[in-house]
């Protein structure tokens, strides 16, 4: 009998092997959906089960939250992908062989992300995140256009540097743990490291955290380490953009937060809080201004992801139960909303045959239902009530205001700047005279609508059970 935490890792990996052998892209797409549904079921099972700590795996409220979001968005993205990807064959951008590869890689990526999330070993966590990153590099280059290869190359170089620095940080954490816990696997076991952090050498932990912050921060897309992110989002298949923004950035953030918890265990070591506040604010404000100059719709929303990751890092940097609660809620809301935006963008790209803003106009005339969905999704990410993103952003700002009134002005400013850009672009794409072609859209709108309804429901009413769960996770974060 396997445990739930094994299932969330093994189901996708097994599915990857099966899908790699399945000929015919329609069967592969259906298999991809079934496997993702099974992984989601395993995620729910994990959520209902008790917290456990083993020598290789750890399950607590904090990472179960990430696994739940991961498997849910993985499932809906697989649904979207199944209805979307056939179009890529019709237009000749992909061959059936590449699609088989794509489905296998999709599952392998989901498995690797789940591995990074449930691992109780800092080495294993690193391996999971590295695998997931490498797979996304290959996926970004899938179309093999010069732009896609350039994006994949840049992503490859920056991600590998991030990987290397994070690994160096991991070695340093091992060196810090080794005199306390002894040689071998136990000095890489996360739960043991955290319990004994107070006896570790603070200088070594400081050094380790700097390397880990730069290494994993590259993956989170924190400015100035973000250069790979917009290109990688823009040039890969749209379902991959949704997974990149909605999930992979979260997993990298998760790794960073785990090490922040470790640092909190040693009072003599440096406090990661202020560094994260500064990096978060720089990313937030920088990305908000960069939004105005984007001419490509996927790059535009990729910068919006940098903005929101910045806000989350800011919230976690502030720390304390309320800010952590708000940060976790914002992460969940952002994942759902941003992936639904990328689903909508996938529809738009199919309808218009382009990703350039200049050629996407007057959607309300040519595709009224799509225009409404896109408008709602963009208003949701802009932080307008009654959507869930409003709740989390409001919480982040009010808790900051209560503690450091002047500091609250900066994220509020960044969000307002971003808000302006979002509305400006939305107006251009929705209204006005339609230009260019208006193709039929094949992709299913179910995943997009489902995500938006979840975000709306969370904004209107958060069930007490969910609040308690988020609160426990926030307490674990310290």
């Amino acid at each position: 009998m396997i445990e739930a935490y094994q299932a969330v890792v093994l189901v996708p990996y097994a599915a990857a092997l099966v899908l790699a052998a399945v000929p015919g892209y329609r069967v592969g797409a259906i298999g991809n959906v079934i496997a993702s549904a099974a992984a989601f079921a395993a995620g729910l099972w994990l959520m209902l089960g008790p917290p456990t700590v083993g020598s290789y795996a750890i399950v607590d409220e904090f990472n179960v939250l990430f696994v739940a979001i991961n498997t849910l968005v993985g499932f809906t993205t697989a649904l979207f992908s199944a209805s979307y990807i056939g179009h890529e064959i019709e237009t000749g951008r992909l061959s059936p062989g590449f699609l088989r590869f794509y489905h296998a890689m999709f599952q392998a990526m989901m498995g690797s992300m789940n591995l990074a999330l449930v691992a109780n070993n800092i080495g294993l966590m690193w391996v999971g995140l590295e695998l997931a990153t490498l797979i996304t590099v290959v996926m970004v280059g899938l179309y093999r256009t010069p732009q896609a290869i350039e994006a994949a190359w840049k992503y490859f170089i920056l991600a590998s540097v991030g990987i290397s620095l994070a690994f160096f940080g991991t070695i340093l954490v091992y060196l810090a743990g080794q005199p306390v816990l002894g040689e071998g696997l136990q000095s890489m076991t996360w739960s043991l490291l955290q319990a004994t952090a107070v006896r570790m050498d603070p200088a070594l932990l400081d050094l380790a955290f700097i390397f880990l912050l730069i290494g994993y921060g590259t993956k989170v897309g924190l400015a100035p380490l973000h250069a790979w992110l917009p290109d990688a989002h823009a040039e890969g298949p749209t379902p991959i953009s949704a997974v990149l923004s909605g999930l992979l950035l979260n997993v990298a953030l998760y790794a960073l937060l785990r090490f922040k918890m470790l640092m909190a265990g040693q009072p003599a070591a440096l406090d990661p809080g202020p560094i994260m506040v500064v990096m978060g604010l720089v990313s937030l404000i920088f990305a908000a201004f960069m939004l105005y100059q984007r001419r490509d719709i996927k790059r535009f929303f990729a910068y919006s992801s940098i903005e929101h990751m910045g806000l989350m890092v800011f919230a976690f940097g502030m720390g304390g139960p309320l800010a952590n609660f708000a940060g976790l809620l914002h992460m969940a809301m952002h994942s759902l909303t941003k992936s639904s935006i990328f689903f909508a963008v996938g529809h738009v790209a199919q309808a218009k045959g382009t990703q350039r803003f200049a050629e996407i106009r007057g959607l309300s005339v040519s595709h009224p239902r799509l225009a409404v969905a896109l408008a709602l999704a963009v208003l949701a990410i802009a932080g307008l009530p009654p959507f869930g993103v409003f709740t989390s952003e409001f919480l982040i700002l009010t808790t900051t205001f209560a503690r450091q009134p002047w500091l609250a002005l900066l994220p509020a400013f960044g969000l307002l700047v971003g808000f302006g850009a979002l509305l400006l672009r939305l107006q251009d794409t929705i209204f006005g005279e339609p230009v260019g072609p208006a193709h039929r859209v094949d992709a299913s709108s179910v995943p997009m609508v489902l995500h938006l309804m979840l975000v709306l429901a969370a904004g209107l009413y958060l069930p007490p059970a969910l609040v308690i769960w988020f609160r426990r996770a926030a307490e674990l974060l310290g």
Binding site: V127, I149, S160, V161, F168, Y174, L185, D201, P230
Partner: protein, 219 residues
């Protein structure tokens, strides 16, 4: 014990010297030779650690370093450069003097950072750590100041040599073998990117600047 320490120290020092040598080469062929020398030194250092500390699994890491990074990859890259026929010179973002000065500063920095750490395990790991960190940072520097695709790959692999040195120096660290295999996969993918995607065929050059022009945003 003392002699074992001196020898591993010597090998790590040689690797650092080669890292500097990588920075001042004018020709890509010379860069590749220097990199091969560094990888073979790494293989020796890891093999020495495996023998003197009685950790036989490290011999696998040493063998991988020697075969893959000491021979296969340099030879493969040599052939690529010859086949492309152009760009035999190293393209620099900053001059040699400046790069070497920054490199020296990075060595000083890594020493200064490591000195703050309390001596662990009889001080053995600490000096190795400073050398390994300097090699990692110099590899990083090389990726920044040399913009040709081949030299960037070499910079990354040199960074990775430093990482494996650090992992070997960390007494009893598990996963070293696994990680060295994972890294080899990563490098294979890198070379794959240079070879199979044949950046040259699409862009007529392997200069990264040309890739930059392909950014979708500037269409």
């Amino acid at each position: 014990m003392k002699l074992a320490y001196e020898i591993s120290h010597l090998l790590a020092g040689v690797m650092l010297v080669v890292s500097f040598a990588l920075l001042y080469q004018q020709r890509i062929a010379a860069v590749l030779n220097a990199f091969a020398a560094q990888s073979i030194t790494l293989a020796l250092a890891v093999a020495w650690a495996a023998w003197s500390e009685d950790r036989p699994d490290l011999f696998i890491t040493a063998t991988i370093a020697f075969l893959l990074k000491g021979i296969v990859i340099p030879v493969a890259l040599h052939r690529t450069v010859t086949r492309l026929g152009v760009h035999r010179e190293v393209e620099k973002v900053v001059g040699v003097g400046m790069a070497l000065l920054v490199g020296l500063a990075l060595c000083g920095l890594s020493q200064a950072l490591v000195v703050k750490i309390a001596p662990v395990a009889a001080g053995l790991a600490r000096d190795e750590l400073a050398l390994a960190m300097a090699i990692v940072l110099l590899g990083f520097l090389m990726m920044i100041v040399r913009r040709n695709a081949v030299t960037q790959v070499v910079g990354f692999m040199s960074m990775e040599n430093g990482l494996i040195l650090a992992a070997t120096g960390a007494q009893g660290m598990p996963l070293v073998v696994e990680v060295s295999v994972a890294f080899s996969v990563l490098i294979a993918l890198f070379v794959f990117a240079v070879f199979v995607f044949r950046i040259r065929e699409r862009f007529d050059t392997i200069d990264i600047e040309a890739l930059d022009r392909m950014r979708g945003d500037r269409r």
